[in-house]
Amino acid sequence: MTIDAVIKKTNAHYCLECGICTGSCPISRINPKYSPRLFVEKSLLISEEELIRDDDLWTCLTCGACSARCPSLVDYNDFMFQMRQLAIEIDNRGVCTHAGTIQAVSALQTKKFVKKDLSWIPKELKTKQKGDVLFFVGCTPYYQIIFDNIKADSLNASKSTIKILNKFGIEPVVSQDERCCGHDSYWTGELEKFKTLAKSNLEMIKNSGAKQVIFSCAEGYSTFKTLYPQFFGKLKFDVLHISQFIAEKLDSEEITFNEANEKITFHDPCRLGRFEKEFDAPRKVLSVIPGLEILEMERNRENGMCCGSSTWMNCTQVNKKIQVDRLKEAEKTGASTLVTACPKCKIHLNCTMNDNGFDFKIKIKDLATLVAEAI
């Protein structure tokens, strides 16, 4: 796509230069040199060659806070995605965090593939290889190892999700042929990589016979729900986030939860919240657990703040500051636990908590973990 086409497709030429995007951008509040408004303006003024060489392309978190408020409906995320596609052609890439390990894990999965290890699933949990309901695990088995040092315990949410499904009488399919969902490839502009991964996953789901696919990860959910149909047409199966699955079940089934006795606050992941507009299901699930008190942070739901990092790229002091601010905001509510519904939010916030010099008291828990503990 040429830059002119991108400008047209993303409504960039409707920009009023009102600045609501930059005022809303979590990065701009800390690093005023980065401005979504100026970037859009630049696209209208300077040449494509110059624009796609810009490092600012990789600063955006694609959290969607700007577009959610844009009066001209400029799709800044899509604008970034398209620009990044052009940028990687001239080898302008973001700076990979964690020595590029995670990008490598994803890239390897586009190649001939060794079946996934499922030995992490505890014996008492029941899964199968074919069936109506599939649980898409995602990257948590890799994160478990990579982020062992910060005790993110990413697999806990996956195990908990299986436990919850079992509790509802469902033995989910957990496939050995599952691959990376392609979320990060897409948002770093690597469209071909994304498509390869998506095709393999769609094939895997077809072979499993699943009619419903459950995610404990907000990014995987949003990627399947919104991005896959854009390239492969309407999906032949339903896609649900675990919070939505439980919320639906609560309508039809009588479930009793154990007393939790905790003050919590819910951090809306961008992909589940602003992207898929699902703010109510997680709160509904949390509200039925007895003894759980939900305290909202100042910036919640559609105004929720990003966890500070995305696509394992360009993590700087600015990103750290966003995370510190968010954790302070969470502690200010008086909650003892911050609950989220995305393994990446959990890792990013945990990472900052483990940094030297901070003394955060708050714990971070995945929604699935919290629910599994109460059943």
């Binding site: 995007c21 005022g23 951008c25 409906l73 100042e298």
Partner: protein
């Protein structure tokens, strides 16, 4: 308004609704429901004795934007024409349960009439002019501004009542959270206006009224500070720009170009505005004592129902479609429209349109010129 009220040839049917309109140009029959006020309009002189002892006290006053309560017997607003009281049948204890009757005993003129019924009037008219005006956008869906959650975030209309001598605070700019005088006020422009998510047009009046509001604020409290956050000033009209400059130079209003991104609150319930100053390219925050949202103006509620009854077409945003061949003509010959009901317009423009509509109506009524208007 008073002139119209006193004019021998003008009949005012306030508190009435058009039920239907039949016939065509020069020969319409309008069916109008004149709602029961339970007060005899010919006798009542709005002295207010009836409401002193009315036991129903906590009904939010619509005219005061709910900032004050009214009673079950009330006058919609003090300069209203005709100047008479009305009993609100949804809240009056006597009308609901047949007990109470205090207002009747207090009215020395005997104007209270609980037996009054709605009257259906059939009016033979030659032409109709629609001038239903506007309603303002409810800013609650713009959750980033916290309207409804933060007490000191108010709308422009609420501000107008607060600063008005007949308003709930007697004209003192007291903030709703603690009743303290607000010395530092921010005005947030384009709330819902020029926004494809809500009203994708410019409401055209907000820039000027925000400047006026800020000037009024400064006149009440000369040492106060005011800030107007705007997308860009759209002060279109004779001397309007001069007014804008006066606001800055004589009144010291701070104009900041940038839409406010969000509003948070500090521990004293002071709104904190986050914004990009697009002139300096900085993202900043500003603590104020009160924030005023200049909400979009929209076609009046109920105007689509009225349009159906009259058979007139509406435009994209629910305004009455008017303009061809003359500015106040609608698609129905003999029905004309003027003011905000056909689109955003300020007072001078509305007055000009009203004159045009009156002229067109006069052509029908006095000259009987069907051909000209058809």
């Amino acid at each position: 308004m008073l002139d119209v009220g006193r004019h021998p040839n003008v009949n005012i049917l306030a508190y009435s609704e058009v039920e239907s309109l039949k016939g065509d140009i020069g020969n319409f029959t309008a069916t109008v429901r004149k709602k029961a006020r339970y007060v005899d309009e010919d006798i009542c002189n709005a002295c207010g004795d009836c409401l002193v002892k009315c036991p129903v006290k906590k009904i939010p006053d619509d005219f005061d934007m709910g900032l004050k309560n009214r009673k079950a017997v009330y006058q919609y607003f003090s300069q209203g024409i005709p100047a008479v009281m009305t009993i609100d049948p949804d809240n009056c204890i006597y009308l609901k349960k047949g007990k109470c009757g205090v207002c009747k005993t207090k009215c020395v003129k005997g104007a209270i009439d609980y037996e009054q019924k709605d009257k259906i009037l059939e009016l033979d008219v030659g032409a109709v002019i629609v001038a239903t005006g506007l309603d303002v956008f409810d800013p609650t869906p713009l959750t980033q501004y916290g309207y409804g959650k933060m007490k000191n975030v108010i709308t422009g209309l609420e501000y107008e009542r607060l600063i008005n001598a007949t308003g709930p605070t007697g004209g003192n700019l007291l903030r709703p959270s603690d009743g303290e005088m607000a010395h530092k006020v921010a005005y947030v422009q384009c709330v819902g206006s020029r926004d494809f998510n809500y009203c994708n047009y410019c409401s055209s009046v907000c820039c000027m009224y925000a400047i006026k509001d800020a000037m009024l604020g400064r006149e009440h409290e000369p040492d106060s500070e005011s800030y107007i956050f705007h997308t860009d000033f759209r002060n279109v009209g004779k001397w309007f720009q001069k007014y804008e400059i006066r606001g800055k130079e004589e009144y010291g209003i701070n104009y900041i170009r940038g839409r406010v991104a969000d509003i948070t609150e500090d521990e004293n319930q002071n709104p904190i505005l986050w914004y990009e100053d697009t002139e300096t390219r900085e993202v900043k925050s500003l603590n104020v004592e009160m924030a005023v949202l200049s909400t979009a103006a929209m076609a009046a509620k109920g105007s689509s129902e009225l349009a159906k009854k009259l058979g007139v077409n509406l435009s994209e945003h629910g305004f009455v479609a008017a303009g061809l061949p003359y500015p106040s003509d609608t698609n129905v010959p003999g029905i004309f429209a003027c003011g905000f009901c056909i689109g955003p317009a300020d007072i001078p423009e509305s007055v000009a349109q009203a004159s045009a509509a009156a002229n067109r109506a006069a052509e029908v009524v006095f000259l009987g010129e069907k051909k000209k208007t058809a």
